[in-house]
Symmetry: D2
Subunit: 341 residues, 4 copies
């Protein structure tokens, strides 16, 4: 069945798979820090125009959020996130499991606002009881957000400024970063992220890999004995090559960008198809996730013909549906969808 | 360079890799429980002669130990292990990170003893202060052990009996289980494990997969909302297919057994080669890890010619070295090694 | 200086102190479960009209909330509370430290609403992704609330009904319960609480003791090995007598009720004094905490003359101030305050 | 019944109780850092001859060990202790609950040995796999030990030197410190401890207080936001006065020393009585805990006449019994005991 369910329902991009095949017989010592890790890390440093970046490869998004947040926070600190932030609602309490509170700010189409962030931190320190409260110790944002939306460079700069004013790290969850970077509607680049964030991750699982996320510490701020703590979280692969080889492929010949650009182009075709047929959108997403409003009869009919996600009910008669494109989406898939909708 | 460093320094067994290639374009919903998981799980149930077994796939050994132990233990319980147990010394405190103590018993070539286990538990309950102590809530063993040794069926039966007497689960870490099962010196089978253990895992990472361990709950005792807790530990893959496809391949056409048998045969050739040349062994290992005593001059010389692990100093002049075989070890590798030693 | 700062700024009520003095030379075994614990527990059971109640004494409110919540929740569960709940904002992340998320509902003068609670839980289970989210595993309310307000018996009954419908425990934080029970504006009694809640605690620290909170499990639901887990949390006193003796005194000759009634009477005099002088109240509190709106000039002037808490700014010119009465507040203190305001 | 059960079975020393009575009506702001805390802290600084010491009051021993150890350790570190250390066996896993492993050394009558400590740390760093292991991050000792024995100044100096060589803090558990300091067989003083330890605590609960332990950070090394973390552990009293007032009394007119000296004198009388009657001792304890070997008939007979602790079986016919003295032990109690034994 035609599928726009998500960007993690296909295997690896053929070039990533080829890299796994080509390197399969090579003897590589375990636990990472092998030649593929080093090569991939260097390519990422170059792409980020950030030679001092420290790069570490993990396997999944929740794992990465948990490991990064819990190893950077002090025990008395929590992480600030949008109410809609993935770490707040959709990670089964992984942050709290690691002992830390998620402190929430309102979201604006998935984004937090720099002024509201500053006001939150100011109010915290102004509160005479703040020694009895959870200290804001990090800011977590995702880009694209849960709603596929993007921060502008100006917005990121403003958030980053607040973080530096209060000396707390800015952490950007880039599970779908490839789609954000290649959106025609963004002015944010990888070097911008390396400058504005203290740590971020470049998502692989949802951008062409079988698994893998590349954590980038931009300011020499990788915590001491980070690998030991990764092990302690159960997050270290014995065959570390698995992530290194894949990221080495993703950052060879601009594959990461090509995957992003392709999926964005497919998303635009999909959006155009829905728009043409008179559908409304829940919000304007410039990335590979499109949120379409379906009346419930259409919803029911389509569910038998194409795979997509039911996002949330809009009202009694209408539902928000999510359609997602990826490296594997083909123009003929969009054409086939256009016939159905 | 010739390598006997470990069983996780090569990629996937060709048949496992082929399965990944063959299924790469298939659309498969995320987070596991897909058709490959189901197929692999059923093949494992059959191999275990345990139809009620619940099977769940995770990515690595430390992760599996942490998730299984912490989700089965009550908060006031700890896990009993040999002092040499992997969970005790070589997992960066992953068990303690999850809030639980590792309670230690002496080891005998890596194994614990059923009588010492019973005595430990009896002494615990006899101690008038035991409400102020960590309750023994699980027994952890590995098979093969850290030293490559194996429990006999009689030993496992005795340990299992103690566990059932005190109603605490027996958990067997089978990171290298394939090598244990195919040793000529064992009388223990997969169905035996399914009968004697409450939970165990079948290691994939070290037995031909890129990553992956199959946890088997044998008595309907998978904890409620296990998948949610896996997510909470950061241990859930979005592309759950990665583990399912590999284990489906490992349990097709007896691949898991074939890998084990091959590595064991290579290990025996390797052992014979060392014996023939007059080397002594630190202990008699019937599996794919061989512990050879090298005088330090030989050690130094060999380190320039072949990769292996320095296990521990034996005395001032001699060192225990570990040589490991795997699916990728070839007879000509052994022949080449024989020339060097 | 005249003080209405809080109900924990004086020592013990004289009758409580006398009990400590009278029992000081008695030899009593350690760690609780001594004759004073047993006596106090029985008096509490009687006061609650709940013979099956299990009573355990801890030392402080945050400790009690942490121990009760973390020992009753399963690892994948969080606790539902009002955004204003003490556990959400004012316990330095003690619940998250124990691994659990606080799931928030809107508050209505500090209270949660049964319908909103049901809607929250229904929405959770209706969400197709709920296996990736934190399960609602307990409901936490406080009575009086952070704002000194009270639930009616009808409201508590409705909340309790939702909890039982979904089989999750209702936990009531009674840090200031004595003041709630003796308010003229309540229809809620201790036996009501024992019927409607699964667990609650009777606050001692803020109601005449030097320290101590009595946890009441109403349905035989004290977790197995609760004392061991109390120890594990660092919450067990070697001289358990300290809490037992105090609670035995508090529940002798209706002392707990007398303390509550006295403080309430003082609060009403205080409220009348402010009202008479034309002050407005932030909200109508029927208990020992009164929230008065002060213009900032008055605030400044009064701060030099009497101790009270600055609650929060209301607007640019006005501030919410909190005045609290206790067992030690005297009529002449109110009279002295009246002169100042 | 005559009781030598423990040093926490009586109430407060009369001078401590008097201080609580005398200050009961005083208005004192909550959560510690009040005038009694400040006064007690200054007296402790003076007694320690350590003006830069930072002093914080907690309520019990396990709590203190958990809070100090978990707030000083980094996440990847564990604490080294004797196998017999209280934190290893008798605190219900409180250290592991906080996420850290207890790394054990052999004990010598309850003490660890500096050379064995150095060897342990050296072996750790020499192990090529140590990034996968728990780092030694602190040394925990108790003085007196679990067996009532004491370190000499030379031994402490040697342990301290190893700690400083490896830059890990030395933490001394002084639950019964008063008895250690006043033993005729010690050359260790409070100023010595302040010089040699990085942090230690002065036990109150077992030395005349109702509850309370004074933590002393000797080198400006109290962790940032320590009070917030104390709150997070549920270890902060609202009426912080309770510990401050008691320690202020304990350090007034040498009360702490007088209590220690009295109990030691009683212990020596007790020891002499047993020795005179021909009893043997399990080991030579120079403090207030005496370990006497009783044949099992005598054990049984005495249990009906006097309270003491059964420590452990020695062999089939004999048992080690513990007799403890305290501030409340009187000469006539020893005389009465002499008649019975």
């Amino acid at each position: 069945m035609l599928s726009f369910e998500s960007d993690y329902v296909n295997g690896a991009h053929p070039e990533v798979l080829k890299a796994l095949i080509d390197t399969n017989d090579e003897v590589i010592s375990g636990y990472g820090n092998d030649r593929f890790w080093n090569s991939a890390a260097q390519k990422i440093r170059t792409a980020c125009a950030c030679e001092q970046a420290q790069v570490y490869f993990l396997t999944g998004g929740t794992q990465t959020n948990q490991v990064v947040i819990s190893t950077l926070l002090r025990p008395y600190e929590g992480v600030i996130a949008a109410t809609t932030g993935h770490v707040n609602g959709h990670e089964a309490g992984a942050i709290e499991y690691s002992g830390h509170k998620v402190l929430t700010l309102p979201h604006h189409d998935g984004c937090i606002d720099a002024d509201e962030l500053r006001a939150y931190i100011q109010a915290f320190y102004a509160d005479g009881s703040h020694d009895h409260m959870v200290f804001p110790g990090m800011v977590y944002i995702s880009h694209p957000t849960e709603y596929g939306t993007l921060y502008t460079k100006e917005q990121l700069t403003a958030i980053s400024a607040v973080c530096r004013e209060y000396d707390i790290p800015l952490f950007l969850d880039g599970a779908r970063l490839g789609y954000g970077l290649m959106s025609p509607d963004t002015d944010v680049t990888l070097p911008d992220l390396a400058q504005l964030c203290d740590v971020f991750y470049i998502g692989g699982t949802k951008v062409g890999a079988l698994c893998g996320e590349a954590v980038v510490f931009t300011r020499g701020n990788m915590p001491k004995q980070f690998a030991t703590m990764v092990k302690q979280h159960g997050a270290m692969l014995a065959k570390g090559r698995l992530t290194g080889v894949q990221f080495d492929a993703l950052f060879t010949d601009d594959l990461y960008q090509r995957i992003g650009a392709h999926a964005i182009r497919m998303a635009q075709l999909l959006k155009a198809a829905f728009a043409e047929k008179g559908y409304e959108f829940f919000l304007q997403s410039p990335t590979n996730q499109q949120f379409v409003i379906l009346d419930n009869d259409t919803l029911k009919r389509l569910q038998g013909q194409v795979k997509f996600s039911v996002w949330e009910p809009l009202d009694e008669h209408r539902t928000v549906a999510r359609f997602v494109t990826s490296w594997s989406t083909r123009e003929e898939d969009i054409a086939a969808l256009r016939v159905l909708i």
